[in-house]
Every structure is written in C-alpha cells, then in structure tokens.
C-alpha cells in the first residue's frame, strides 16, 4: 500500500473508531455531554445576566439628568447664551429648554389638588418660577464636571438653583453600583469559566478512566500511541461539538423566553438580552468551541497517556 493511501486509510479508521466508540458508549457520552452543557450554560447565563445588568444600568443612566433653574428675572438673551454655553461643553449630550410658562403650567398641574399652593400662586403677581435647562451628559461620570461648569462666574448668577446637590449622591451611587456590578459580573464569569474548565477536565478524565482496560488491550495488540489516543481525542471533540450545539439552542430558547418577560421592567423598551444574543452569539460559539476543543485535546492526550505503556 502506498504511504498516502496508508495515511488516508489510518485516518479513516481513527474517525470510524471514534464515532463507533461514541455511539456504543452512549451512556458515558450522554453523561459527558450533559456535564459540558451544564458548564457552557452556566457561562452563557452569566453572560446574559451581565448583558441584562448592563442594559439596566444604561436604562438607569438614561434617566439621570441635571435641571438648572434660572432666576425668574433672567432675560431671554442671557438664558440663550447660557444654553449655548452648556451645549458647547463636550461632556453634554443634550439640553432641553423649558420656558418659565411651561414650568409654571407643569407645576400647577402637579399641584392641582393642593388648594394652598393654588391659592398662593393666585396671590403672587406674575410667574414666580424661572425657566429650566434639562441637561443630559454623555457619561454618568461627566455630571460632576457639568455641574461644576454651571458655577462659571459668567453664568452662575443666572441660575437660581440646580439639582446638583439633589443628584450628586444619587449619580455617584449609580455610578458606583454600575462599576461594582460590572466587576462582580466579570469576576463571576471568570470564576465559572475556571470551575467549568476543572469540571470538564475531570469529566473527560473519568470518561477516559472507564476505558483504561481497552487502552491497555489496544496497546497489547500492537496499536501505536497515536492509533489509541486520537480516537479518544476525536470522541471528545464530537461530544464537545454536540454540547456546544445543545447549549446554544438552550441559550437561544432561554433568551426568546425571558426577553418579553423583562420588557415591562424597561418601560417597554428592549431589555437588551436578545440584542446581546444576536450581536454576540457567533463570537460566543467560536470562543467556546476553540476553548473546549483545546481543553478536550489536552485532557484526552494527558488522560490516555496515563494508560499507555
């Protein structure tokens, strides 16, 4: 037989042996796949939870703004200058101007049932309330700078109040919470990935251990190390592929089920889990496949090697 034909023949046999072995040891294969699916799903769930918390934090951050209230006697020209100044700040994403009349109208509506307030407003001559600027920053950490910028001597006298004091602690708390959640989420994913690797390592070792006598017999009959080892590596790769397929389907089903349930928490907007899934599923599958294949190859090589003499 020519060397090329011999090589192809051997490769074909190794593939057939590995596939036969997988099918004929269905229970061990099923247990191994179940364990791998558990490991992959744990990581997938944590990734989805992190995507969800990121979206929740983003949602919370979107609701943060600073309201700067002008003194009632500030002229329209100065108010527009102040608005332009705020808009020119690179940290500012958006500024909404609310006129004094609109502020008064909103105030009346929100205190419609309060007779004392209504009477007070009636007694006061003219509009006691000033116009407002609703300022949104690009990033939560920019609010501190924006509020500082409002203290600019050129414009500081125009502002009656700002919600700086009211928001300062809340903004800092949200920012702190977001940082903590992101850190804990990343740490949990790293930890579960590590646990998953250890679990996979042991699962594959046990699977090979159950075949230790077969490995010995193959060697006694004259099989080379590669002829014994490679089918086990391939078997591990079949099982890993099956586990990745199953865990991806489970992940997709989970996302499809949970996303509508989370929507009310986000006032009808996308909770972000589906978006995260659609944007990242290919990367996740590729990374998990590469990682699992590398792990399977390493563990199978080492574990089978223990029983090769």
């Amino acid at each position: 037989m020519k060397p090329e034909a011999h090589f192809i023949n051997t490769c074909w046999r190794i593939i057939v042996h590995s596939w036969q072995h997988t099918i004929r040891n269905a229970w061990i294969a099923a247990a191994t796949v179940a364990m791998l699916v558990l490991v992959l799903s744990s990581v997938n769930v944590l990734l989805a939870v992190q995507a969800f918390t990121n979206q929740a934090i983003q949602h919370l951050e979107d609701h943060i703004d600073v309201i700067a209230t002008f003194t009632p006697n500030a002229s329209d020209t100065l108010i527009q200058q102040a608005r332009s100044y705020v808009l020119s700040l690179p940290q500012v994403q958006d500024v909404t101007f609310i006129s004094a009349d609109q502020v008064l109208q909103t105030f009346r509506q929100s205190h419609a049932s309060d007779t004392a307030v209504q009477a007070g407003l009636h007694d006061v001559d003219g509009n006691p309330l000033g116009a407002e600027l609703v300022i949104k920053a690009k990033h939560t950490e920019d609010y501190a700078f924006i509020l500082q910028a409002l203290q600019n001597p050129q414009y500081a006298s125009l502002f009656d109040t700002s919600t700086y004091d009211d928001h300062h602690e809340a903004i800092a708390a949200v920012q702190n919470l977001a940082d903590q959640i992101r850190l804990i989420g990343s740490a949990l994913i790293a930890l579960f990935t590590l646990f998953g690797m250890l679990l996979t390592f042991n699962t594959l070792r046990v699977a090979v251990y159950t075949h230790r006598e077969e490995i010995g017999i193959m060697r006694l009959v004259g099989a080379s190390s590669a002829f014994v080892r490679t089918p086990f590596i391939l078997e591990g790769i079949w099982l890993a592929s099956f586990a990745i397929l199953l865990s991806s389907i489970l992940f997709a089903c989970g996302v499809w089920w949970i996303n509508p349930l989370l929507r009310p928490l986000f006032e009808g907007s996308d909770p972000g889990v589906t978006t995260f899934f659609l944007q990242n599923i290919l990367t996740i599958i590729l990374v998990e496949t590469a990682g699992l294949y590398a792990l399977v190859t390493t563990v199978s090589t080492l574990a089978v090697g223990t029983y090769l003499r």
Binding site: M1, N25, E213, I217, M218, V221, A223, L308
Partner: protein
C-alpha cells in the same frame, strides 16, 4: 528467535521475580513454561511482549532487544507476537469481527484484505456465524477462540499463550490445545505459559520449569509430573 541472557527482574522494592534466567527458544518450537504461582511465569511472558523491562541481563525477541526498545518501537515488537490471555482481553464494545480485524488495522492492512482474511480466520476457529456478536454474548470458550483468531490473523512469528485454558472446561481446553498444535505445524513458535498438568502432558513437547524465579529444569519432551 527468543534469547534470555542472564535475565533478572526485580519489582519494587526488592521482590525478585526472575533471577539470572538464561534460555533460548528456536523458530518453530513449542515450549511449555510451567511452575507454581509466583514462580515467575507471568513475568517472563511480560518480558517477551515488553510489558516489563529486565532489571539485569538481555531479552532478545526476533532480533529486538526488549530492554532497549523505545516506547515508539514497543507496538512494532508486539505486532510480531500473537498473545492469548487467560482473561481474554477482548475489546468489549467491538464485535467479534472488529476485535479480530483490530489486529490487522493496527498494522495498516487494507480494508479489502481485512474483509478477505477475517472471515477465513473466524471460520477456522468456528465462529464465522457469530462475527457480529459482542464478547459479552459469547461463552468463555468462544471468547478464547476469538482471542486465538485475533492472535493469529496477522500471521505472527511467535504465539504467546498465557494460561489460555485457565477459565475453560475440559472439552474447550482440548480444542484450544489442538488449535495451538495445528498453528505450530505451520511454523509458528508457540510459548505456552501454564500450570495445567493435563495440557502439558498432552502436548508432550519441550517443558521449561520455573521455581522461585529460576529455571529448575528444561526438558525437550517433558511431562508435568516429571518436570516438577
């Protein structure tokens, strides 16, 4: 064919299994190696297939120096030897056909050759009809015949049978011995490791007796009773 030159094997920490054993077995011989439990028979068999290495001395099998074999070369040596074990050592998840074919697959035989030879060998051992069965679906005697088929299918120069009749009844024992004698007639060197008196006496060929790890006697047409 096989030469042991002042071979000693010591297991950790200081159990001497074989001590200064020297013997030579020529091509085509039928040699029974006998002795009580612990005499060193199995150690000797393991040395011949490089399952163990000598602590001292030299073991030469078909020109291979067992003590100097690399891990890569061990399978090459084992492909020259057919081995029959008392506990069969069949691959449990492979059928009778696949177990026998495995010995050919490891030497890279073509699929056509395997399809041609394996049924022939199974016919010789009377298992052609059971080619598709798995080892657990066979009796002890049938399993041992599969092992013989596997040991012979690649036409080895040496056949090592380690207690091949240990788990068999008288009828099956007779069949196995007849099969070994027939194989020997075709020129294959047979090494039969046993403590079965009837087997050794029935064969009536060269008998090497081991006692306490040393050669106690080496008779060219020995009998068990005489040897011990």
């Amino acid at each position: 064919m096989i030469v042991l030159d002042h071979v000693t094997k010591v297991y950790h920490p200081n159990h001497v299994a074989l001590q200064d054993v020297s013997l030579a077995i020529g091509a085509g011989e039928f040699v029974s190696i006998i002795g009580q439990s612990g005499a060193g028979k199995t150690t000797l068999a393991k040395l011949l297939i490089a399952d163990e290495r000598p602590t001292q001395g030299k073991v030469s099998v078909g020109g291979w120096d067992v003590g100097a074999l690399s891990v890569h070369d061990v399978p090459l040596l084992r492909r020259q030897i057919g081995v029959i074990f008392q506990d069969y050592k069949l691959l449990p998840k492979k059928s009778v056909f696949e177990n026998v074919a495995f010995a050919l697959e490891v030497i890279g035989a073509s699929r056509a050759r395997i399809r041609d030879i394996v049924p022939q060998v199974l016919r010789v051992v009377g298992l052609e009809e059971k080619a598709g069965r798995f080892p657990t679906q066979l009796s002890g005697g049938e399993q041992q015949r599969v092992v013989i088929a596997r040991a012979l299918v690649h036409q080895p120069k040496i056949l090592l049978a380690d207690e091949p009749t240990g788990n068999l009844d008288t009828l099956n024992t007779r069949d196995i011995i007849d099969a070994l004698l027939k194989v020997n007639q075709f020129g294959t060197t047979i090494i039969l490791v046993t403590h079965n008196r009837e087997v050794v006496n029935a064969v009536h060929r060269r008998v090497i007796t081991l006692k306490n790890g040393q050669i106690h006697s080496d008779q060219h047409q020995g009998k068990y009773a005489l040897a011990m």
